[in-house]
């Protein structure tokens, strides 16, 4: 890979000097395998979303889109590695917003989400919501809020870890509704689900709970997304429930190391948008309870800015601290 990077750098330099117009260069890209760096270990939600993308992109571009997992330090190690990769259009970052708009608000990161990366495209939003264990009693969102108000601190909520977007969702809910729910951090969402199913904790908000909702083992209270989940058409969104501006989106996206040729990121974005609008990708994403919003790189940058500010405010309001 390093050798390829080296050759790629030489190639990019030659190309940059040769052609001022985009057509030829963007048309030639990609002429060798492209690496997508994932900042987490294989098998998690990020891997799950990246797999269909790598497969479809490999097919339409005729070059392999290889996944490289660089897990560790809550995603910081892989994200840092991607920020330092050669910006030649052959290395990209595939990440949830945790590393871009949550983590940098909690601790010093060795990269700057705004400056170290160029936006490429949105890869999928998770369409899921709060679930509750049936043994507690409440059958819908309103009953849950009433129950929590009547029994402050009695409910507990399992998150995938401190400073993850799923914790942010709980803090936002507490902040907006004024209810008291105990936050219990776990090492990843599978670990939390394990304690949720027997009712050791009573609430969660992750995609891996949805099959258990279908099986009747858990109750889905709401959807944390702008639209409902087609698999659960009767479950309302937070906005519909009258809790406005309370969504904390969990969104996945492609980023390029800063300085990657604009023609390449534009061509990549165009293809992502085209695929996201196609039925094949829509179907694949729906199967894993996701939707892909369509954005230009500029819109995506503005969206990151907005999301980062929202998380920063929430972290301050809820007094969440790391280190």
């Amino acid at each position: 890979m390093r050798r390829r990077e080296f050759l790629g750098r030489a190639g990019a330099a030659v190309a940059a000097g040769a052609l001022p117009l985009s057509g030829a260069r963007a048309a030639a890209w990609p002429d060798k395998p492209v690496k997508l760096i994932l900042p987490y270990a294989p098998g998690g939600a990020t891997d799950l979303l990246a797999r269909p993308w790598s497969e479809v992109l490999s097919k339409v571009f005729g070059q392999q889109f290889v996944l490289e997992h660089r897990g560790g330090a809550g995603g910081m190690i892989g994200t840092e590695a991607a920020s330092k990769a050669t910006p030649d259009g052959y290395t990209f970052l595939f990440t949830p917003n945790a590393t871009m708009s949550v983590l940098p608000n909690l601790r010093k990161t060795p990269y700057d989400p705004m400056k170290s990366f160029d936006p490429v495209g949105r890869a999928g939003d998770l369409v899921t919501g709060f679930v509750i264990h049936p043994s507690v009693g409440p059958k819908n969102f309103k009953e849950m809020v009433e129950y929590a108000k009547a029994n402050p601190g009695k409910l507990s909520y399992g998150s995938a870890g401190l400073g993850t977007a799923t914790q942010m969702r709980l803090e936002m809910l507490k902040f907006k509704t004024g209810i008291d729910i105990l936050h219990v951090p776990y090492r990843g969402s599978a670990d939390a689900l394990n304690d949720l199913l027997p009712g050791n904790v009573q609430m969660m908000n992750e995609i891996n709970v949805l099959p258990h909702v279908k099986a009747g083992k858990l109750i889905l209270l709401n959807i944390n997304h702008s639209s409902r989940n087609p698999d659960f058409p009767d479950v309302p969104t937070l906005t519909e429930l009258g809790v406005s501006d309370a969504d904390v989106p969990i969104w996945y996206s492609f980023w390029a190391p800063a300085g990657t040729p604009k023609e390449i990121t534009a061509a990549f974005n165009a293809k992502i948008v085209e695929l996201a609008n196609g039925d094949d990708m829509k179907g694949r994403m729906r199967a894993i309870n996701s939707q892909v919003p369509v954005q230009t790189p500029e819109e995506m940058r503005a969206y990151l800015d907005l999301d980062s500010k929202r998380n920063a405010d929430l972290i301050k309001a809820a007094n969440i601290k790391l280190e």
Binding site: R51, E55, G71, L162, A190, D191, L193, P211, K321
Partner: protein, 499 residues
């Protein structure tokens, strides 16, 4: 009971020629990968996941599962032959397995590991077939407080495991737990003992510690000791276990299988305890506990059976609930998702062919591994005939590449160099690294469960005594500790009087 119709369905799927082929490929690749220290099944499965898209869902999962248990077999081989454990369970195998290899009995050690694993695999498969749902419910009885007490019990077992000084073993457990705390604290996000190095934020990988302490430490010792190290390659007695070996291994295999089967179901780190507790049990039951660590075949047979049984039953939470209990199971789920199968409690009803086919393939896979591995033993043992001056360099290189392959992090090689130094120091100081490694594995888990239990009980420590499971484990731990320490105090007193 429709067990038989289910099994018939499963076998009809698993013995189709193409699925048999994928099963064989998985087992074969897994064995080859497992033999390489550090290169684990997770990385291999991640690599092969895109390929499985072109297979049927059944073929894909059968092959992925094959890689997993194949790697377990392969890992034991390296532990026995050259004392390099690539994962937690092979640490125990290395203790007596490597001692046997040094006595020229690598063949019987490898064979008994394969036979023990096969028997355990068969039993665990049957267990999954007849009792997966009730076992899942049983595992769900475990709350964080129960896990804490189970881990505490596991640590007292580490004391039993030690073959030398008890005090030193206890010290090594404390040291291991302390090393295990390096990294980010899950409950508060604080970092501990990281010296500001971001590569330490997730702690040091277990494989790095194990390869450093065992593999590298051993190379250093042997290279400095030309007379002794040639013993490894000079005499090789028999490739197959004798009748006596088999007789001695029978009960340990049976006990290890049962112990491992039940611990493997627990998704919160129970599987780790399987091989460790089997070793401690065999040592306690043995008439000659003082020979453990010096090449007792019981110390290989029991833990290997326990390990393989646990590996097999760890599929249960994944199969019945769709919950991955470890990274390997997460990859299996990834394999399902690629084919548009959403893992969860409904798989058993919706995809019975897939579900039962995979279970049936486990049994077939185990049989294949036995057939594949027994003839290979001769070849492995011949490898020991390579002069040690070259073998040592090869082991060093495979450890280094293996560590680098984990995350492509250069710093992890420096960590391994450090643990190699430490490993050699421990050999010279007469300290055994196995209790340290168990402390390293269980210490952080114990802390997480303790604090989680306290959080959920809203700060009431009585939760550890009020829950029957937790209380039971605590009582067993206390009794075990007394049983171990009493004879030692008596012995120490006698020694003191003799002086």
């Amino acid at each position: 009971m429709d067990v038989f119709s289910n099994l018939a369905l499963g076998f009809s799927v698993a013995v189709s020629p193409i699925n048999l082929f994928w099963c064989f490929m998985g087992a074969f690749i897994g064995t080859a990968i497992g033999v390489l220290p550090g290169v684990g099944p997770v990385a291999t499965m991640a690599l092969l996941l895109p390929v499985t898209y072109f297979l049927t869902p059944e073929g894909a999962l059968i092959m992925l599962a094959g890689i997993y248990y194949g790697a377990q077999y392969g890992g034991s081989t390296t532990a026995i032959l050259v004392n390099v454990p690539g994962e937690a369970s092979s640490v125990v195998t290395a203790l007596d397995g490597y001692a046997m290899a040094r006595q020229g009995r690598a063949g019987p050690a490898l064979a008994i590991a394969a036979i023990g694993s096969f028997i355990a695999g068969c039993f665990a498969t049957v267990l999954i077939v007849i009792a997966a749902p009730p076992l899942t419910r049983m595992a769900q009885q475990f709350a964080p407080a129960d896990y804490f007490s189970l881990m505490l019990l596991g640590l007292t077992l580490a004391v039993v495991m030690a073959s030398g000084s008890i005090v030193k073993a206890i010290g090594m457990i404390f040291l291991g737990m302390l090393l295990g705390l390096v990294g980010t604290d899950v409950n508060t996000g604080n970092t501990r003992f990281t010296f500001g190095i971001s590569d330490l934020f997730d702690g040091v990988g277990f494989v790095i510690v194990a390869m450093g302490l065992f593999g590298i430490g051993e190379i250093i010792k042997n290279l400095g000791d030309p007379e002794r190290r040639d013993l490894v390659s000079s005499k090789i007695e028999g490739l197959m276990p004798t009748r006596e070996d088999l007789r001695r291994s029978a009960m340990p295999i049976a006990r290890g299988t049962i112990l491992g089967s039940f611990l493997g179901i627990l998704p919160g780190g129970g599987g780790v305890l399987g091989s460790f507790s089997s070793y401690s049990l065999e040592k306690k039951l043995s008439k000659t506990p003082e020979n453990f660590g010096k090449g007792m075949i019981e110390g290989v047979a029991g833990p290997e059976a326990a390990n393989n049984a646990a590996a097999q039953t760890s599929f249960i939470p994944m199969l019945t609930l769709g919950i991955p209990s470890n990274a390997v199971m997460a990859m299996m789920i990834g394999g399902m998702m690629i084919h548009g199968i959403v893992p969860g409690p409904q798989i058993m009803e919706q995809k019975p062919g897939l579900f039962w086919g995979m279970i049936a393939s486990m049994w077939i896979g185990n049989l294949m591994l036995l057939v594949l591995n027994l003839p290979l033993i001769g070849m492995w043992v011949k490898m020991l005939l390579v002069p040690y001056r070259l073998l040592a360099i090869a082991i060093f290189f495979f450890c280094a590449v293996g560590v680098y392959s984990l995350n492509n992090l250069n710093t992890e090689l420096y960590f391994m160099a450090f643990f190699g130094l430490l490993g050699y120091a421990f050999i010279r100081l007469g300290c055994e690294p196995a209790p340290l490694l168990l402390g390293y594995l269980l210490g952080p888990l114990m802390e997480v469960y303790m604090r989680r239990a306290m959080l959920l009980s809203r700060g009431d420590p009585m939760v550890f005594l009020e829950r029957p499971l937790s209380l039971t484990f605590l009582i067993i731990a206390a009794v075990a500790l007394i049983l171990v320490i009493l004879p030692n105090i008596r012995k120490a007193r006698q020694e003191a009087f003799q002086e």
